[in-house]
Point group: C2
Chain length 329, copies 2
């Protein structure tokens, strides 16, 4: 039986068109292993589905939460939104995972409300990806929790370790605290206390503190920080490729390169930029709720939606939510 | 009369040799406008000074604070260290500025102890540089203060604005808070409260929140954050050029470039890397103490030391410490 992934057909800046397009591609790529439920307003979504497609259907929702709506009020007032309905399908067992490129705050709040927290998790977290010289690392938290206590950071470490081992296939994944220095005793109050908690944890491979310069150099498989630091790092990383293009253009001009030489530099840069492109991974997991949830970029293209759905399938395949529950039990 | 800059001849991984070399170069470049006091152990420093040099002399200090010593205890026990003596010269008016590539924590602690805080400053701050598509911006704080309250962040904004206007020659410099979103109301508790304080400030050009992706795009002339976030961003930035070299090498291999094409890419990369090289700026100012202090990288080369001394001269020329005092009065 195929894995059933519910996708928020109304979520994202270019929904529902790009969502349906990305979902169709995901179904085709999965060769029967995925069944996609397009959650949204039928009259808007149905006409977009190619005739005769198998493994794709519409799950009706009458309301839409806008990208800029206040999550707190929208989650309370729009109980038949595509986000609520999609998460409800996971809760009732009609889908094994939910993915959305919609309002991130609303997805988080509705996930907590609909699915609840895993026992032992105070705060669910979003695990981001960061390209490194080796491949990539995962960073938790990347914006869900801006004010964190030590125990929250320690829980992120446990969740990230399970995720890296199961989904990212890292054997005994290394876990490090992002900090202002490598020595124990460095950092703000929360980080110092988290260092103590993690030093005592036996079920994870805690390797200590790393610094900002270690992130891109793959200082660890799993990098732990509060959502403020993680969000700043992630967005800074996303901008590198863009800015690099600007710097390289200025430098090519200064060095007076000819057209053929410029083409070489641009082609190499394009290869590097792909590493920093969120489309490659599509979306990031919301960890710590009782269910598998993937959150995508509001600006997601069809290609990014396809990747989000595949990532959602991976969470199910590797039973991530249950394994996190077991790890924290 | 030349500006007298005291430099810590014993500070840095390769002191005193590179410090003396850098100081000699600074004096030569300044063409009589700088007089350098090499603060250190005379028997180690004097033999390194070329015969017949003018505008360079040794200021004796009998002790050295190591790079890895605990600042708190070293600052108390080694009162005749090169750091103490150098700052003492500033306090007594025998020098107008002090620069050190030594133990940063010790320089900060000794600066507070010897020079004291400017009235209205709760916490002195280190203002870092960040390359941007325009030129560069200054980021405060970059590691001096990891746990910050809103009023500390607001003070950083005032100090950074004076520095950017006077030394960096920005007219009405834009000041922004680094945050997880652009909208007012975003962020952790300290940042949200700092937003309120800065919105009410009439003497600075506060433009609101910026995000990690705006940093390299020159979102503001002056970027305000706590020292944890600033330190992570700064070190991440310092690593970009290195890591980029690695990514480009992998990409050149993948695209099977020939030797001539590789040379073009490497030459362009070298130009970009210079933007991220701390040697270009040399050192960063410690703002908020009653005196002009420049802090350098422990790994400073002679070229970086030269730049540090020139930066120290600029602080004096633009009367930065007094102007900060006036701004906060």
């Amino acid at each position: 039986m195929p894995t059933r992934v519910a996708i928020d057909a109304m979520g994202g800046d270019r929904a529902p068109a790009v969502v349906v397009e990305g979902a169709v591609e995901a179904v085709q790529q999965s060769e029967g292993s995925l069944h996609v439920l397009l959650v949204g307003v039928p009259v808007e979504v149905e006409p977009l589905i190619p005739a005769g497609m198998e493994h794709i259907e519409v799950a009706p929702a009458s309301e839409v939460i806008g990208m800029d709506e206040s999550p707190a009020s929208a989650v309370k007032s729009k109980r038949d939104s595509s986000i609520h309905v999609g998460l409800g399908l996971v809760r009732s067992g009609q889908a094994e995972a939910f993915a959305s490129a919609g309002n991130t705050g609303a997805v988080m709040a509705a996930s907590l409300f609909t699915l609840g927290r895993i026992a032992g998790v105070s705060r669910p977290t979003i695990a981001g990806y960061y390209p490194t010289v080796d491949s990539f690392c995962t960073v938790l938290d990347v914006g869900a929790n801006v004010d964190c206590k030590a125990e929250h950071l320690a829980q992120f470490a446990h969740m990230g370790s399970v995720y890296a081992e199961r989904v990212l296939k890292r054997t005994n994944p290394s876990v490090a605290l992002m900090n202002v220095g490598e020595e124990p005793g460095k950092g703000d109050e929360a980080t110092k206390a988290a260092f103590e908690l993690l030093s005592e944890a036996t079920s994870i491979n805690f390797i200590g503190n790393i610094e900002g310069r270690d992130l891109l150099k793959h200082g660890a498989d799993v990098v732990i920080c509060d959502g403020f630091v993680g969000n700043v790092m992630l967005k800074l990383g996303e901008s590198i490729a863009d800015v690099l293009g600007h710097f390289l253009a200025a430098e090519m001009k200064a060095q007076d390169l000819d057209e053929a030489q410029r083409r070489v530099v641009k082609s190499v840069l394009a290869g590097v930029a792909r590493r920093f492109d969120y489309e490659t991974m599509g979306g990031v997991p919301l960890l710590g709720v009782n269910g598998n949830v993937i959150i995508g970029h509001g600006g997601s293209t069809a290609a990014a939606i396809t990747q989000m759905i595949l990532r959602a399938g991976e969470l199910v395949e590797h039973d991530v939510a249950n394994r996190i529950a077991a790890s924290l039990a």
